[in-house]
């Protein structure tokens, strides 16, 4: 079993598809992951399942890989079992989770924007570029930069999960470039497809961060590091000024008003 623990998850799932199904049952979504080079032991550890669940999961995985082996079912002392915890974030991480909310509000409008683009005579270049400005300034410069320059520095940056996050940020930047190009060339399909791809990517990305990555990082931070990170994030926010988040919140509110009207029209 030790050997399997140190193998890449994608390789394990490809060889033993049953393992993928078992992981999904536990809410561990490795099957659709684009990278899948996390080691099995990290995949299980990162999800913080609690001793009872983790032991049962490992037992079932071992059974699926070695059906002929005699493996005894895990006995876990139920009295020491802790109740499933609701996620509580440290203050600096909580701030990042809160920033996701405004980004998700834009993501929610993207299907309407895509439809509007499709049904318009020409690409509404101003509209697309203003959305791109939100993505590049608020989501990327203001939010992703704090993740990349501050948060990720507190853990092993070579860890696969961090690499996946970097890759997502980069892929997102690519979609945005493509959408801009589409807007310049008045190519409706290019705008629409790239905005929708950005939406799918970021929806999954934010979910991974809120539910898996951030709690995993928080568990490793000492009290001193939490205080230090809080200061660094505040300094980063101060360097762009109070007005920036306010400006983009106003932008989203106006966009919501416009597209809610479009829907009811």
């Amino acid at each position: 079993m030790l050997k399997v623990l140190n193998r890449e998850i994608k390789e394990i799932i490809n060889t033993y598809p049953e393992v993928g199904r078992i992981l999904e049952e536990y809410g561990i979504g490795c099957v659709p992951c684009t990278v899948g080079s996390c080691l099995l032991k990290d995949v299980v550890g990162i999800h913080n399942l609690g001793p009872q669940k983790e032991a049962t999961l490992m037992y079932r995985i071992e059974k699926a890989i070695y059906p002929d082996r005699k493996i005894s079912e895990p006995v876990v002392d139920m009295t020491t079992q802790s109740a499933p915890k609701k996620i509580t974030y440290s203050p600096p991480v909580k701030k990042l989770v809160d920033e996701h909310v405004l980004i998700k509000r834009l993501l929610a409008l993207i299907p309407s924007i895509a439809e509007y683009t499709e049904s318009s005579l020409r690409v509404d270049k101003n509209l697309i570029l203003s959305c791109v400005d939100f993505i590049r300034t608020y989501a990327d410069k203001y939010h992703h930069m704090k993740e990349e320059d501050i948060l990720f520095k507190y853990v092993d940056e070579k860890a696969e999960i961090i690499q996946v996050m970097y890759k997502d940020h980069d892929t997102g930047r690519g979609y945005v470039r493509q959408a801009v190009e589409g807007a310049e060339k008045n190519n409706k399909t290019q705008v629409k497809e790239n905005l929708l791809a950005y939406r799918d990517l970021l929806t999954q990305h934010i979910k991974k961060e809120d539910e898996i990555l951030y709690p995993w990082i928080d568990r490793q931070l000492s009290t001193t590091q939490v205080g230090e990170m809080f200061r660094k994030c505040n300094a980063a926010d101060a360097s762009v000024g109070d007005e920036l988040p306010k400006k983009y919140e106003k932008f989203i509110i106006e966009l919501e008003e416009k597209f809610l009207q479009e829907v009811t029209k």
């Binding site: 509580t88 440290s90 203050p91 001193t224 939490v226 205080g227 809080f230």
Partner: protein, 153 residues
């Protein structure tokens, strides 16, 4: 059972001597004096830029690993929100620790009895009055010395 849970008599002498080892020395993690919140000055060098533990008096006696798990690496102030007088001074001192001593974080460790949450309130009030913002954590110790919760507030 009736009356204030903070002063209700409970005997759990049967339960206390469970596992745990008596071997090995446990050095004190205290690095300062004084420690009582009325006696300390926020200007003291041992508070500047530090992580501070604000402990309800009873917690150090109730929680066996107090030094190792919570005091280590921190500076401390202790108080009792039930019996101490002039608690407005406490709020001002917390504010001054945050604004003047520029402490890094504040962890408040209290007992589970309701009156002890008064100390967490003092910490919150002081933090709210301060113009700097810092992370504040609340740790609740059960009467039998177990940690009931630990969360950022």
């Amino acid at each position: 059972m009736s009356g204030c849970p903070g002063s209700r008599t409970i005997d759990f002498s049967e339960k206390t001597n469970q596992e745990g080892s008596e071997t090995g020395k446990r050095p004190s993690q205290l690095r300062q004096w004084p420690i009582q919140l009325h006696l300390v000055s926020p200007m003291a060098p041992y508070f500047q830029g530090k992580d501070i533990l604000l402990a309800a008096d009873c917690t150090a006696f109730a929680f066996g690993e107090f030094h190792k798990d919570y005091l280590k690496g921190k500076s401390i102030a202790i108080a009792c929100p039930k019996l101490d007088s002039d608690q407005e001074v406490y709020v001002e001192k917390i504010k001054s620790l945050i604004d003047d001593a520029k402490i890094n974080t504040l962890s408040v460790i209290i007992m589970q009895v309701p009156c002890c949450f008064g100390l967490a309130q003092i910490a919150k009030d002081g933090a709210e009055k301060a113009s700097r913002k810092i992370p504040v954590k609340q740790i609740v110790v059960g009467l039998e010395g177990n940690i009931l919760s630990e969360e950022w507030i």
